[in-house]
């Protein structure tokens, strides 16, 4: 991935999502040494000339806050379905934009959300970008099928 999409590009793509969908809600900035809290995870699979997946994870509190800003609703009004839609939107847009700079043709899966079961897939970690929003961690990872890195 380093050759195709750098960590800086992954961060930029995610920050662009923030600017478009969550303006005036605080900047998303690169973070170091921030303990990741991963209550909520979503991913999209990319298949074709490049195969792998893009995963985004954050805490439930952050996911609810994203949904609240995205859907212009009070946090108390946010339902579980809203959280799923918001995280699905986030991973769909970030994954779609990463896909657009990978070798074509590729297809993008629908967002796959962590439903509380065991969140495992046979893959090797290729990139990991840690970002912070209002001091809360958000992690974007790119995975490749086992043995392809």
């Amino acid at each position: 991935m380093t050759d195709l999409v750098s960590n800086e590009t992954i961060a930029e793509i995610t920050q662009t999502f923030w600017g478009a969908y969550l303006p005036d809600a605080g900047d998303l900035i690169p973070a170091v040494d921030l303990p990741a809290i991963e209550d909520v995870r979503g991913r999209v699979d990319i298949d074709g000339a490049w195969t792998g997946c893009v995963e985004v994870s954050c805490s439930m509190a952050v996911a609810r806050k994203i949904a609240s800003v995205m859907f212009a609703a009070e946090p108390s009004e946010i339902a579980e379905a809203d959280v799923r839609d918001a995280v699905g939107e986030l991973v769909n847009v970030v994954g779609g934009n990463i896909k657009s700079i990978l070798p074509a043709p590729t297809s993008l899966s629908v967002p796959i959300l962590d439903d509380g079961g065991e969140w495992r897939f046979a893959a090797d970690l290729e990139s990991e970008v840690l970002l912070a929003w209002a001091g809360e961690p958000i992690v974007v990872r790119v995975w490749r099928p086992e043995g392809t890195i």
Binding site: A20, Y21, L22, P23, V44, M70, F71, A72, D85, A86, G88, E89, N92, V93, G96, S107, L108, S109, V110
Partner: protein, 369 residues
């Protein structure tokens, strides 16, 4: 009795777009979002179940994108209006033109920034809702007209009135061909322009209602298919025979005499008929330059842009060819010209290019004798 609301199937992979477009459309009393789908595969399933009046279709989606969805749904639902919900980007414009050639009925641009919900909602209500309403009502009217009842025969098409403003027909050959089109126009233009020969003895001026990026791509695509050189007019250029000048989106295109030569140039005047570029503006400028030696063609399109220009052309002694109702995606512009008695001929789309040849005094390659 109030007609039931137009039923919409909204297809977009973005949950945010689905939500705010649904909310904005639901504020219109005569429109209801009957179902949503997050990709083309879901859309096909929901089309079967819901039989909506209009499909609003995103371009880029997982599983089955907008173009692949069109290719699947058109053979099964050839008549359901499909409105592409596109982005004003190079990729969005190219995909939208591909979609229109694959059978999409129309397109509307998405609000550029969904974060400003109020502005985005207003854009949906002012730009998407009217298009959905028009197509939904037209689709229902067409279905009703096609459904014979035991008591009544199918309504016969009302014949177009004979031309009435033909008192001063200029018998000399036209010195310019002007074409106006809107909804359905990109496809109609590909049935006309590429059939004109490289030796065409007159210049061709085209106004197609589209945003800037789209008109550039349209000109490039027509150029690739045509013997004639097709250019988008983005600055003043001299007019020469055998070249096609496509008006750029967002600005009027007018012909002007400059000494002994003629140019096409840009005019940043106000929109006419809510259109910019407007067919009327270009047609009137053609009359100012060429008088009655103008051949006008009015192709498929909503509204009545071109009506005033055709009236001036007829008064000056020029000729007007209008596309007929059966071959038009929507018979607004050519219908207005025909009903006003301004059309010299009202023809199916395949007969338009040969008719141009007749008016210019030469048969076109591949045209019926």
């Amino acid at each position: 009795m109030t007609a039931p609301p137009v039923r919409v199937l909204l297809v977009d992979d973005s949950a945010v777009i689905r939500r705010f477009v649904s909310e904005a459309l639901q504020e219109e009393p005569d429109i209801v979002v009957a179902a949503t789908a997050s990709n083309g595969r879901q859309a096909i399933e929901r089309l079967e179940r819901e039989l909506p009046d209009v499909v609003v279709l995103d371009v880029e989606m997982p599983v089955l994108d907008g173009l692949a969805t069109l290719a699947e749904l058109r053979p099964r639902w050839p008549d359901v209006p499909v409105v592409m919900y596109s982005t004003l980007t190079q990729r969005g414009a190219a995909a939208t033109l591909d979609a229109l050639s694959l059978g999409a009925t129309d397109y509307v641009l998405k609000p550029s920034h969904v974060a400003d919900r109020d502005a985005a909602g207003r854009a949906v209500r002012s730009e998407l809702a009217p298009v959905v309403r028009s197509w939904g009502n037209l689709h229902r009217a067409r279905l009703a007209a096609a459904r014979p009842t035991p008591a009544t025969a199918p309504p016969a098409r009302v014949p177009a009135p004979a031309p009435t403003l033909r008192a001063r027909v200029d018998r000399s050959r036209p010195e310019v061909l002007v074409i106006g089109s809107s909804t359905g126009g990109p496809h109609a233009l590909t049935e006309v322009i590429p059939r004109l020969p490289a030796s065409l003895p007159v210049p061709v001026l085209v106004v197609q209602h589209m945003p800037p990026l789209f008109t550039k791509l349209l000109a490039e695509r027509l150029d690739a298919r045509s013997a004639l050189e097709v250019v988008e007019v983005s600055a003043e250029v001299p007019v020469v025979a055998g070249r096609v000048y496509v008006a750029s989106g967002g600005v009027h295109m007018v012909a002007r005499r400059r000494g002994a030569s003629v140019v096409v140039t840009l005019d940043d005047g106000p929109p006419e008929n809510s259109c910019k570029p407007a067919v009327d503006v270009m047609f009137r400028s053609a009359v100012e330059v060429w008088g009655g030696r103008v051949l006008a063609v009015v192709l498929t399109g909503m509204g009545q842009d071109g009506l005033d220009g055709c009236r001036r052309i007829c008064e000056a002694g020029g000729a007007v060819v209008a596309q007929d109702e059966a071959s038009s995606v929507v018979w607004g512009m050519p219908g207005a010209v025909s009903r006003a008695g301004l059309a010299t001929e009202i023809l199916p789309l395949p007969d338009v290019a040969p008719a141009i040849g007749r008016h210019l005094g030469r048969a076109l390659a591949g045209s019926p004798a």
